[in-house]
């Protein structure tokens, strides 16, 4: 019989650190208990500096009513919440430097806040996944420009 990975002694964080997505886990006090390599790479904040810190202390720009509202909603309702690029552009300010610069100078992000439930189905933690959608947004804008140009 195949042994499920969770029951082996393989450290799952190896997988989490190879993802090309930002992964963060927060407890109810908004303290960071997981901060993957992707987040280290773009935020320039080491794991040792991030773990145990309150996320809004580390990123004061997140001290908004909307951020706490959404995180609160996930803890309370046990349902997902979203920060879409369309409305927020980004949640974490990560400047990007690319060889061919077009469009935004900050990484454009879609972020999903998900509930993490314990065995009693109580939301004990929330995770934030950060997706880099800068290229997508670039292409979309180029498309809009081309459409405008064609209709002229």
């Amino acid at each position: 019989m195949i042994q499920e990975i969770a029951t082996t002694d393989i450290d799952i964080s190896q997988l989490i650190d190879t993802l090309s997505v930002g992964a963060i886990i927060l407890n109810r006090r908004l303290e960071i208990i997981l901060w993957n390599s992707w987040m280290v790479q773009y935020s320039k904040i080491e794991k040792s500096q991030a773990l145990g810190k309150v996320i809004t202390d580390l990123f004061p720009e997140l001290q908004t009513k909307r951020f706490s509202w959404k995180i609160n909603a996930v803890f309370k309702l046990g349902h997902f919440s979203f920060f879409s690029q369309e409305h927020y552009k980004y949640l974490f300010y990560f400047p990007i430097k690319r060889a061919i610069q077009s469009g935004a100078e900050e990484m454009q992000q879609n972020c999903i806040v998900s509930p993490l439930k314990n065995k009693d189905r109580v939301v004990e933690f929330v995770s934030i996944s950060v997706y880099d959608v800068t290229d997508q947004v670039d292409y979309q804008q180029q498309l809009i420009k081309a459409k405008k140009y064609m209709s002229c």
Binding site: R66, K76, F80
Partner: protein, 206 residues
């Protein structure tokens, strides 16, 4: 089991979800909200337009928010907001927007999305939880903003799809407004849903 019984069971599940959510929504949005027992019915594609026109009236405008979900059953949800609902949003927006510099138009969209996200969570999230499965969701999107109701027919929906329509009347600060949630799923997902409902009903009966 008859379809009516299954829909009744779904309605009951959603009602449990709403019971838990309405107090939380009220607290989160800082407004007084109550939700009535939702009504649920199954439609084929052609019947939906007529149903909406009958319920809302042809003259009214609507906004649509779409969100995809996937798991043991998958599909998409479309929440239909009548214009009346959108105008009520402005109060809520003002309360939420104290620390934000973004345009109020963007904020209004954001609140539509937030409300639909909560309602979808209360409906689908609760159904999934009671059926012992989990769903994940894509970012919700406003696909139509204050458009005449006949624009709905321009939205393409695949032919093999079934539509569960959940009519939810909620009162926001004394004014009641009806929202319509479409759960669009294909044959395969619907039969999975119905089979699982049958099983769970069997396990409930003594």
């Amino acid at each position: 089991m008859h379809n009516e019984e299954r829909l009744e069971l779904l309605q009951e599940m959603i009602n449990i979800g709403f019971g838990r959510s309405s107090a939380a929504i009220a607290e989160l949005l800082d407004v007084f909200i109550t939700m009535r027992v939702p009504k649920i019915c199954e439609f084929n594609l052609s019947g939906v337009g007529d149903y909406l026109v009958k319920q809302i009236g042809l003259s009214d405008k609507i906004s649509l928010v779409r969100q995809m979900f996937r798991g043991d059953f998958l599909g998409e949800t479309i929440l239909v907001f009548p214009e009346q609902m959108c105008s009520q949003m402005s109060n809520i927006v003002l309360k939420m927007d104290k620390d934000s510099s973004s345009e109020s138009k963007v904020m209004q969209e954001e609140v539509l999305i937030e409300i639909s996200n909560i309602i979808i969570g209360a409906c689908l999230g609760k159904i999934a939880e009671l059926l012992n499965t989990t769903l994940s969701y894509n970012i919700p999107q406003v696909i139509l903003k204050s458009c005449p109701i006949d624009h709905l027919s321009e939205q393409k929906i695949g032919n093999d799809n079934h539509i569960l329509v959940i009519n939810n009347t909620m009162s926001i600060e004394d004014k009641s407004v009806s929202l319509y949630l479409f759960i669009i799923i294909n044959e395969e997902s619907l039969s999975w849903l119905y089979q699982t409902l049958d099983r769970s009903l069997k396990s409930l009966s003594f």
